[in-house]
Symmetry: C2
Subunit: 258 residues, 2 copies
DNA sequence: AAACAATGTTCCGAATTGTGAAACAATATT
DNA sequence: AATATTGTTTCACAATTCGGAACATTGTTT
């Protein structure tokens, strides 16, 4: 753990500790976490006790292991008030779901991943699911590709130069050259499309919300089961309504179409 | 800010800083936050910069003010994997929504409030909305009263002895004696019912999920628009299905009905 | 049941870091 | 343009944090 004059080391350790609690390892013991973070167990113990006293961390009485505390639900509420695009997009998403009868979700980029920040599920019996908080890499699925395509050139280059493409499904793009082609196409078309790249049997369409400077804010996406995705009338209708919704929403953010 | 040998002061300050970002004040300036927390501006600045470097905090380039970072969506994902009741309840919630065609939501107690941790919306045009993360006091609405009623006696006494009841709507209970009566009734009936206490025009039913020791884990609730709430056949059907769902779910947690 | 291993927790002297007053840089207001 | 307000940086000093070791608790093996 390297020293840096701009950051408080103690707080840094606490944040790194919190970030250890992920979907792939939800619970940690003190010594286990110490090994993982290269910190002395006594140090970890103190950090965990401080986090626990504020309920950022909870301790299972049975196993004595530590896990994330429920207080994090509080921050979700704050986030949805803080970022105007969520609030702005919701009415357009509702109308879109009403017209298409498909699952609609809103995504943003967070730490080089796509993350879902709002969703409205399809009322149909066969429907797609996209929980708030779910993540995927920026090359798997229409939402991700759309977000990547409408990001700044700097971001795209930075992402492509370091990111190793690991396929999510057999349909995922795993070739940088191919991905660059998709990015270029997406920019021209104004939307992204995919079939089975992230979840087998599930297709999606995605289009961006842009601000008054043309900067990407988020993407609205439709998640469509394959059987309905393969109906070209339905797919075209969905595409048109999606473009309409994202354009209208972008205009509320000051974006001007030329 | 009191000294305590068990907690790391620096980390404590960071956590208190994060907790300042709430729905009622989403953005803070450095000096403003310093005044609010009774900390020197230079101290706050360093804390914010550390939090920012991990993206727990974001700075609006235009206003230079600080707000919560998107990374908190990451923790929501972890939470939903961590707590078994969420995963356990989801199939029962889905079936309940299917049968009743009403909005179903799962709630837990967090910091003396009810907080929504899962939801499945009704497919009907007139439907109730209950976003994940939304909160209310433990005396307003069926979910809250259900959670309170099935909490430990210690918790109930502690809550009632210090909490000032401020009405949410004109139908909210604002009298402690009345609330105690409702708690007793709820315990006997095994479910709670309310009409317009939290949101005008919206009724709800709620029943608890209990573990093998009869300890409260969460409550499953149906949110029903008033027009359908007033249909007694529908309401009775909903109640029966709700009780069935929560009992079945409790049994998966080892609860035994006598 | 006893012995051993592993884990969470606490203590205390040494080492390191965090703090706040003041100055500076950037932006907003008059 | 001048002034006020805010975010940011610097540095000497005070305060806190750290880690090794011991202790307490729980789990596993014999």
């Amino acid at each position: 753990m390297e020293q840096n004059k701009d950051k408080l080391n103690s707080i840094e350790k606490a944040l790194v500790t919190l970030l250890a609690f992920q979907e792939n390892q939800q619970t940690w013991g003190v010594r286990e976490l110490g090994t993982h973070l290269d910190l002395n167990p006594a140090t970890v113990q103190r950090i965990l006790q401080t986090l626990k006293s504020f309920r950022f961390i909870d301790q299972d009485p049975k196993t004595r292991q530590y896990r994330l505390g429920n207080i994090f639900y509080r921050f979700l509420n704050t986030l949805q008030s803080t970022y105007p695009v969520s609030k702005a997009a919701l009415p357009f998403m509702k109308e879109l779901q009403s017209k298409t009868q498909e699952t609609v979700h809103l995504n943003v980029i967070e730490d080089m991943d796509r993350v879902c920040v709002e969703n409205i599920e399809s009322p149909q019996n066969l429907r797609a699911s996209m929980p708030i908080g779910s993540r995927s890499p920026l090359y798997a699925g229409a939402s991700s590709k759309c977000l990547l395509a409408f990001s700044s050139d700097e971001f795209i280059e930075s992402y492509l130069s370091f990111k190793k493409l690991t396929p999510v499904t057999e349909n995922t793009i795993s070739n940088v050259t191919r991905l660059r082609t998709e990015i270029a196409e997406t920019r021209v078309q104004g939307f992204a499309i995919s079939m089975g790249e992230r979840t087998p049997g599930l297709g999606s369409l995605s289009a961006p919300i842009l601000d008054h400077k043309g900067v990407l804010l988020a993407s609205i996406s439709l998640a469509i089961p394959e059987i309905r995705f393969n109906n070209s009338d339905h797919l075209n209708f969905c595409r048109q309504e999606l473009i309409k919704a994202t354009r209208s929403c972008s205009e509320t953010r000051g974006y001007h179409h030329t």
